[in-house]
């Protein structure tokens, strides 16, 4: 299965289509865990409907009741995922074929598709300088459409402050949930992610997708220009020759990324640095693989 790169994905019309391509690309290479659904606790029966796993049919229950029931296990039924999208202005930056926000939306839509396919509940939150969108966790079939529709309508604006989303989740999530944050982590206050660290401390599973545009990662510009920031009051400006300062810039960026990695690692948060020039399917595959590996260890 070919992994579509962002350029190819950008040419696809509609997030729904892009998400499906990403999912198919991700899952095609993904090895099912041999322990998938076998070592977890039995939670309840569900009447068989087309599409359910045949192997999960509880034949004893069928013998007793002469009706087909499938077993549902603890993790299949209790996963609730909160997808937090950073919708600050800086997420609108487009250096690659997809802006960081589009990339985040594509990735989030693909992940939501995978989760909903597994009958998991998915919630969507969008947060810039404040919480601008909240979709409660749902697992029904039409929820994906709602999620995708909401993702398509996201626009970057304002500064970055994700604590509002963290607070919302903290209040609503009564049981262990998966929280995935899609952000570039720029212009964030030092305590901006403390809420997510608290969520992790509350035994939620937190993952951060640190999205960075290739322009931001490599500073490929060659001509002297007036570089303008996208966030902050008055928008910071700097006239310079990028050739002359590239080395010093990359050093500063490396320090920032290293600090972010240390912060999240110390907080036992799954931190992933994502280049928006890389295929989203690969990113999703790697994320799902790691999730499965974590589950199998557990």
């Amino acid at each position: 299965m070919i992994l579509l790169d962002p350029a190819a994905l950008a040419g696809l019309e509609g997030l729904h289509v892009r998400a499906r391509c990403v999912v198919e690309g991700a899952l095609s290479g993904l090895h099912r865990s041999p322990q998938h659904g076998q070592s977890v606790e039995f939670a309840e029966h569900k009447e068989y409907s087309p599409g359910d796993e045949i192997r999960h049919i509880d034949w004893r229950a069928m013998a007793r009741t002469d009706r087909y029931y499938v077993k549902r296990f603890e993790q299949e039924t209790n996963l609730r995922a909160y997808l937090v999208i950073d919708t600050s202005k800086s997420m609108d930056y487009r250096g690659a074929p997809l802006s960081k926000l589009q990339y985040a939306a594509t990735l989030a839509a693909a992940l939501a598709s995978v989760l909903l396919r597994q009958q998991d509940q998915v919630s969507l939150l969008a947060c810039g300088s404040e919480l601008t969108l909240y979709l409660p966790p749902r697992a029904h079939g039409g929820h994906l459409t709602e999620v995708i529709s909401a993702l398509e309508g996201l626009r970057g604006a304002g500064d970055t402050d994700l604590n509002g989303a963290a607070t919302m989740i903290f209040e609503r999530a009564k049981r262990r949930s998966l929280i995935v944050v899609f952000s570039d982590l720029l212009d964030m206050r030092t305590d901006a992610l403390s809420g997510f660290c608290q969520l992790r401390a509350a035994r939620h599973d937190v993952a951060v997708m640190h999205l960075l545009d290739p322009h931001e990662l490599h500073l490929p510009f060659t001509e002297t220009a007036l570089f303008e920031g996208l966030e902050g009051e008055g928008h910071e400006q700097q006239l310079c020759d990028p050739e002359a300062v590239r080395a010093a810039y990359l050093e500063e960026l490396a320090q920032f990324l290293g600090a972010a990695r240390r912060t999240f690692t110390d907080g036992d948060i799954d931190y992933r640095q994502v280049d928006t020039a890389s295929p989203p399917a690969q990113v999703l595959r790697e994320f799902l693989s790691s999730r499965m590996a974590v589950r199998s260890r557990a």
Binding site: L186, E216, T224, A225, G229, C240, D241, A244, V245, A248
Partner: protein, 676 residues
């Protein structure tokens, strides 16, 4: 600095282009959104200092390069103030430096001689390898040998010093000619560094003249003579000091003047001298005691300070010794040839002259040694005495020659050929009798009042001289230019009446008529007495009782010490003591390079040196060196050299240096503008 094509300087306005580009570039930089601009700012702060300096250097290099282009196109040059001397194919170059007194003239803080040395050094430095040089100094010493070693000739030039002498530049050129005569005409040249005030002789040698003063007028004032005579109103030690002050500039000068006697102020005053003229100033002073006094008269120092002072040595009670040689003795006293002369010199109550009389054949070396002045009165011929008389005059004695019926013109021309100011030609007469029609007789016309001999004459005395009638006189033939005398008095028809000449260290006066009343009535005129006395004083070397004739720098002083003297030494004005050799009571001293008063000490039977004040003498500069007026040089000087007289300016182009600078700036711009 100047420019050959100044129009291209308009291009300097183009330096605004790189500046404008720099400023406009900043404002026209494209805007580029970037979320991580905060990291860019931190990075810029790290590299900013180096970048800023590099940017400024780059801008400066570009601005300078644009300016260089405009300047190179404008062809700039600087004018080099060097002597323009064309050596051409010359391989043997004699450098002749005029080291006379006039070259000590200070112009713009530097003496002309130092300028001459500097320009000669420039010439040596600029000469091609292998050119030979020799150095000749105008005063004669020292001269260097031929050398192609530039270091040696430079050393000789650095060691040269200007003298206080008057230099005969013509003789110096002849010495220079002797140095080059072995070289071929095409390969030799004489380069003369001078102030342009000396007339050069005709010569076939290729000569180039460098006027170190660059044609600048050199105004100067000087004391040209000092003469003393008795001031009767002041008593036996009363002295009148007559000072000749010359102004060689075009503007009138009013100057303070002071008389010093034994370093004490004797008198002072103010003298006003019109431009390009001479004035005689008179002092009256009384010598405080008998004896010898060293004195000097001085003006404020100007650019040539050595001629602003004149020294003298005076003895208030000294008698001048006069020998009258009587060529026509008479029994009747008043008819005697020397009657009126003796009367004028032996004026009662004012003994100033010790007068003796001899016949011509009774005059010998012994007689001449004992006198200061000899007067030949109507002497036919001298015979063997002529040689003694010549030596007497050349060693400092004075000679007055008067005419008369007995004089053998041709014989005297032969006997006194070395002494006569001009040869005797023929006798002119209005008639044969002493009484003659005044309208036919000749009178004196022009009198050289500015001359030291006639300077003391008042207007009335001058008029008295002019009133004298001359009915017989000797006409003179023109003499050789070098030996030609100077006319102190003329007749009203222009013929010379009284002629002076300097011979060696002595002087000769020729009166073309008689000293008695045979050919004229001058002896009965009031001006006769002062004329005769002043003439004798003048011939004795000065006036009233100057101990000895003041010498000029470089002259030799004859010292008559007497038979008792065994050793003698001279104390120079600069304090140096020089022992002189004594032979039979006589000595001579020639180390007279320093201006001032020289004292003598002698040692006889006693063991210590004793001062001999009456043998003190003064040394002064030659007043000829005080006139620095430019003279026209002979025609054989080449036209190129005549341009050099005006000190042409040499243009040194700067385009090459600017082009090299432009290349350097472009390389720097390339280096600074490259991207790392």
């Amino acid at each position: 600095m100047g420019f050959v094509a100044p129009f291209f300087l308009v291009g300097l306005a183009a330096v605004a282009v790189p500046i404008a580009i720099h400023l406009w570039g900043r404002s026209q930089a494209p805007r580029q959104p970037l979320a991580t601009v905060v990291f860019l700012q931190r990075a810029c702060r790290t590299v900013a200092p180096h970048r800023r300096l590099r940017q400024w250097l780059l801008l400066a290099a570009r601005v300078a390069a644009v300016a260089c282009v405009a300047l190179v196109l404008a062809k700039p040059f600087v004018r080099m103030q060097r002597a323009v001397v064309q050596l051409g194919t010359a391989q043997n170059v004699v450098l002749l430096l005029d080291d006379s007194l006039s070259m000590r003239y200070r112009l713009d803080g530097e003496s002309l001689f130092d300028r001459a040395k500097r320009q000669a050094l420039d010439l040596v430095d600029s000469a091609a390898h292998g050119v030979r040089f020799a150095l000749v100094l105008g005063a004669g010493q020292p001269n260097s040998e031929w050398t192609d070693d530039k270091a040696r000739i430079r050393s000789a030039l650095h060691a040269a010093r200007a003298s206080a002498r008057a230099v005969d530049l013509g003789r110096a050129i002849r010495r220079a000619e002797q140095r080059v005569e072995s070289a071929s005409l095409e390969s030799r040249v004489i380069v003369v560094f001078s102030d342009g005030s000396a007339l050069l002789p005709d010569t076939k040698e290729p000569i180039q003249i460098v006027d170190v003063a660059k044609g600048t007028e050199l105004p100067n004032r000087a004391i040209t003579f000092v003469t003393l005579q008795p001031w009767h109103e002041g008593g036996p030690r009363g002295v009148q000091v007559l000072v000749g002050v010359s102004n060689f500039s075009t503007r009138e000068a009013e100057l303070p003047i002071a008389l010093m006697l034994r370093d004490r102020l004797g008198a002072q005053g103010t003298v006003r001298v019109p431009g390009q003229s001479r004035t005689v100033h008179s002092f009256h002073a009384v010598l405080p005691e008998p004896g010898v006094f060293a004195g000097r008269v001085g003006l404020p120092e100007d650019a040539l300070s050595e001629d602003d002072v004149r020294h003298f040595v005076v003895q208030g009670d000294r008698l001048l010794r006069v020998l009258m040689v009587n060529g026509d003795p008479r029994v009747v006293r008043h008819q005697d040839e020397t009657f009126y002369l003796e009367a004028a010199l032996n004026r009662a109550g004012q003994p100033q002259f010790d007068v003796t009389e001899r016949m011509a054949d009774a005059v010998g070396p012994a007689e001449l040694q004992a006198v200061d002045v000899v007067v030949l009165c109507n002497v036919k011929r001298l015979g063997a005495t002529a040689n003694d008389l010549t030596r007497f005059v050349e060693s400092g004695g004075g000679l007055l020659i008067t005419m008369g019926e007995n004089v053998d013109l041709a014989g005297l021309n032969q006997d006194l050929a070395a002494l006569l100011p001009q040869p005797l030609a023929s006798v002119w007469s209005t008639g044969s009798h002493r009484e003659v029609d005044p309208s036919v007789a000749r009178r004196l016309g022009r009198l050289e009042i500015g001359h030291p001999l006639l300077a003391p004459f008042s207007e009335m005395q001058g008029a008295s001289l002019r009133s004298a009638l001359f009915w017989k006189r000797v006409l003179l033939r023109p003499g050789v230019a070098r030996d030609h005398g100077s006319v102190l008095a003329e007749f009203d028809d222009g013929a010379p009446a009284l002629v002076e000449a300097k011979r060696g260290q002595g002087r000769v006066l020729l009166l073309v008529s008689t000293i008695d009343r045979e050919w004229n009535d001058l002896p009965i005129r009031p001006g006769f007495l002062p004329l005769v006395q002043q003439a004798v004083r003048y011939l004795a070397g000065a006036s009233m009782g100057e101990v000895a004739a003041p010498l000029l720098v470089g002259d030799t002083q004859r010292l008559v010490l007497g038979g008792q003297a065994r050793r003698a030494r001279v104390l120079r004005p600069d304090g140096k003591v020089i022992e002189v050799g004594v032979s039979k009571g006589n000595a001579s001293f020639s180390d007279t390079e320093v201006v001032g008063t020289y004292q003598l000490e002698a040692q006889g039977e006693e063991t210590r040196f004793l001062a001999v004040p009456e043998l003190a003498f003064a040394v002064n500069v030659d007043p000829k060196e005080s006139d620095l007026k430019k003279v026209t040089q002979p025609n054989q000087v080449r036209s190129v050299e005549k341009k050099a007289l005006a000190q042409g300016q040499h243009r040194e182009p700067l385009s090459g240096a600017l082009a090299a600078a432009l290349l350097g700036l472009l390389l720097a711009e390339t280096f600074l503008g490259r991207r790392r």
